[in-house]
């Protein structure tokens, strides 16, 4: 093939230029400014007068990494990711498989009902869940009481607040992944199952040796997306607990919000943001590599 002429190159560039300009203006530039901010102590005093801005070097990063609250926030976030992601994926996959079953009835109804939380406003949902979790009048404690379990202060007890947030987040978000799984399940050819049945495979064996391997790439994608999303936990604790009790639901992103938009320490907030970015990049890359190795092992 001939190398493109200058005119062709120019035309090509002019086609991508609008998109590049938008990406540059609204993504690359803000990220670069944010990175720059993270090396300064930009705060309220600097807002009043630029002469009060000090170059901080890596001070913000050192400060963030030595802040007890950051480690607690990281601990909370990891707890949320480690509990929430598997739970969310298991629930999505379980519902998708059940909805795909030939025995299931009213499929469109259930599909819509299970997807509804995803498109509902979190703030409205939070009000209802706060009632459900209520220590005295909540439905959950009433149910536990009926089987003789003492009431639990779900959102007020530092040990239970994060599990409660996990439950809410999983319920709120599993519908999206469920739809992806349903689509992927529909793409698995029926003859595979027929062949398996002829070989005497039972339901579990069919799921284990046909459904799961065929869903491999989808599972990987869903895990990566869900993990990236769950690392950015913010809205649920913001509307449910404001980070409390005893800061047991402060997530890394919540910490960033507080530093930046509540206390106006934008330098430190940017440092938190970049630490989180590195964390997410590393863990999603790790997951991708793990997934690829699994795929290679499966095909070998």
């Amino acid at each position: 093939m001939k190398a493109p002429t200058l005119a062709q190159r120019l035309i090509a560039w002019s086609f991508v230029a609008p998109a590049l300009a938008v990406i540059g203006l609204f993504f690359a530039l803000p990220v670069a400014v944010g990175l720059g901010l993270s090396f300064t102590d930009f705060d309220l005093y600097a807002l009043a007068d630029w002469h009060n801005l000090r170059f901080a070097g890596f001070d913000n990063y050192v400060h963030v990494l030595t802040l007890p609250l950051f480690w607690q926030a990281l601990h909370n976030t990891l707890l949320f990711v480690l509990a929430g992601v598997p739970l969310s994926i298991a629930l999505s996959l379980g519902c998708a498989v059940l909805l795909q079953s030939p025995l299931a009835r009213f499929k469109p109804f259930f599909r819509t009902a299970l997807f509804a939380p995803v498109v509902t406003t979190l703030v409205a949902v939070a009000i209802i869940w706060r009632y459900l979790f209520h220590v005295k009048y909540g439905l959950i404690n009433a149910g536990l009481g009926a089987v003789g379990i003492d009431p639990v202060d779900w959102l007020g007890d530092p040990h239970w607040a994060m599990p409660s947030i996990v439950v809410l987040a999983v319920w709120k978000n599993f519908g999206a992944n469920m739809i992806i799984f349903i689509a992927a399940l529909q793409a698995i050819p029926d003859d595979l199952y027929e062949a398996a049945r002829l070989d005497g495979a039972r339901r579990w064996a069919q799921f284990r040796y046909i459904t799961l391997p065929m869903l491999g790439p989808t599972l990987l994608m869903v895990s990566v997306l869900t993990m990236a999303g769950y690392f950015q936990l913010f809205a649920e604790p913001y509307v449910m607990t404001q980070g409390g009790p005893l800061q047991s639901t402060v997530s890394v992103l919540y910490l960033m919000y507080e530093e930046g938009f509540r206390w106006w320490n934008l330098g430190q907030a940017s440092a938190v943001a970049f630490v989180l970015f590195v964390l997410m990049a590393v863990s999603t890359q790790g997951l991708m590599r793990l997934g690829r190795r699994g795929e290679a092992a499966a095909s070998a």
């Binding site: 901010l37 102590d41 007020g156 997410m280």
Partner: protein, 457 residues
Amino acid sequence: MNAAIHAAINAAMRVGTPPSATPPPRRRALQAGLAGLATLAAPALVGCTRKASGPLRFWAMGREGEVVGALLADFHRAHPAITVRVDALPWSAAHEKLLTAFAGDATPDLAQLGNSWMPEFGALGALAPLDAWVAATPALQPTDWFEGIWATNVVDHQLLGLPWYVDTRLLFYRRDLFARAGIDQPPATWGAWVAALDALQRSGIAHPMLLPLNEFEPLLALALQQGDPLLRDGGRWGNFRSAGFQRAAGFFLDRFNSGHAPALDSNKIANLWQEFGRGTFAAYISGPWNIGELDRRLGPARRADWATAPLPAPDGSPAGPGTSTAGGASLVVFKRSQRQADALTLLAWLAQPAIQRRFHAMTGNLPPRRSTWALPGPDGVPLAQEEKTRAFATQLERVRPAPAVPEWERIAQEMQQLAQRAVFKRQSPLAMATTLDARVDGFLEKRRWMLDKKARA
């Protein structure tokens, strides 16, 4: 991360999944956050330019923002040349919006500002000093305002605002339950307070007092009752290890350790007023808005059951009620406003006792001027005599401002969080104060650098 998403989407395409799925909404939050940080400079590009003509721009928050428009109809009749446009902001967003407006050179002409934000906006140099104007306006006698409230508006010896309404914390109590426990007077000292709570416990109320752990005001009020300042060396360092703060924190923590107060925050109580009416707790440290709330929710029939009383004073202090917090909101004029004269006309008009009395009728907010408290209301009874507000009149004579440093809001928040931790972990007041001092010294690092720089120059 982007590469990961692209690879994942490609993987989905391989299986033939239609890309119909809605992505989790949180995915872009980080990017949005980063973009948010960087758009700091953007308001400068889009901010409205200040105008010397057109309506006067007045930012008011919450309930005040909703009702002040009705009050202004009369102002427009008295001053037809000045039109006022009120922009109502929700309290939760007000602080951010004001700071962004300052950064983007889009501040209004005048605004309502929480008293505790005054040092912050003073440090920004955003507000016009009002000293000369007040001195030249005979209708505004500073001595008519409660001293503690007036003092919150003075930053670095400059008057930056005019108090609009006041807020302080005192004791709401169930008179009938106190009587049942054999107490016919609200406690005036800490000792009597503890004795009353013991008696209430014996009368069958498990946790007779509510000290919400998500508010810093109750502990702050107890700390302000002590002589020791909360910060030392001109606001350079925390002073929480002082004997005074430890006494206050010790009293506060003891209320939880002895079961007088439940370890709860007020969010955890589904309906605070109902529980108060039901007698789940018999005493509650709260502010003036609860007069209206209790009237509305418990109704006139129960009005005799509850009462208000000034905060008890520490044992051994001079007679009279204990000190409390000096909260509320003030009206400020922005330095960049080209309409400062008109804005001041509006400020003076809103500060008239008769107008403040009407404002009280509309909102339940308590007025900051003693002469307003002396004006007879619709029923002929002045606020200073009215049964429920009388205690506030007494309390307002004994309020003290929090330290006037821009970092105060954060310090107060940290104090509240560490107090909550100390309650749950049963820490000693000294352990709590030591951590608090260390954190506060960290918050004040920039302030110390600024003060030193100023001293060198």
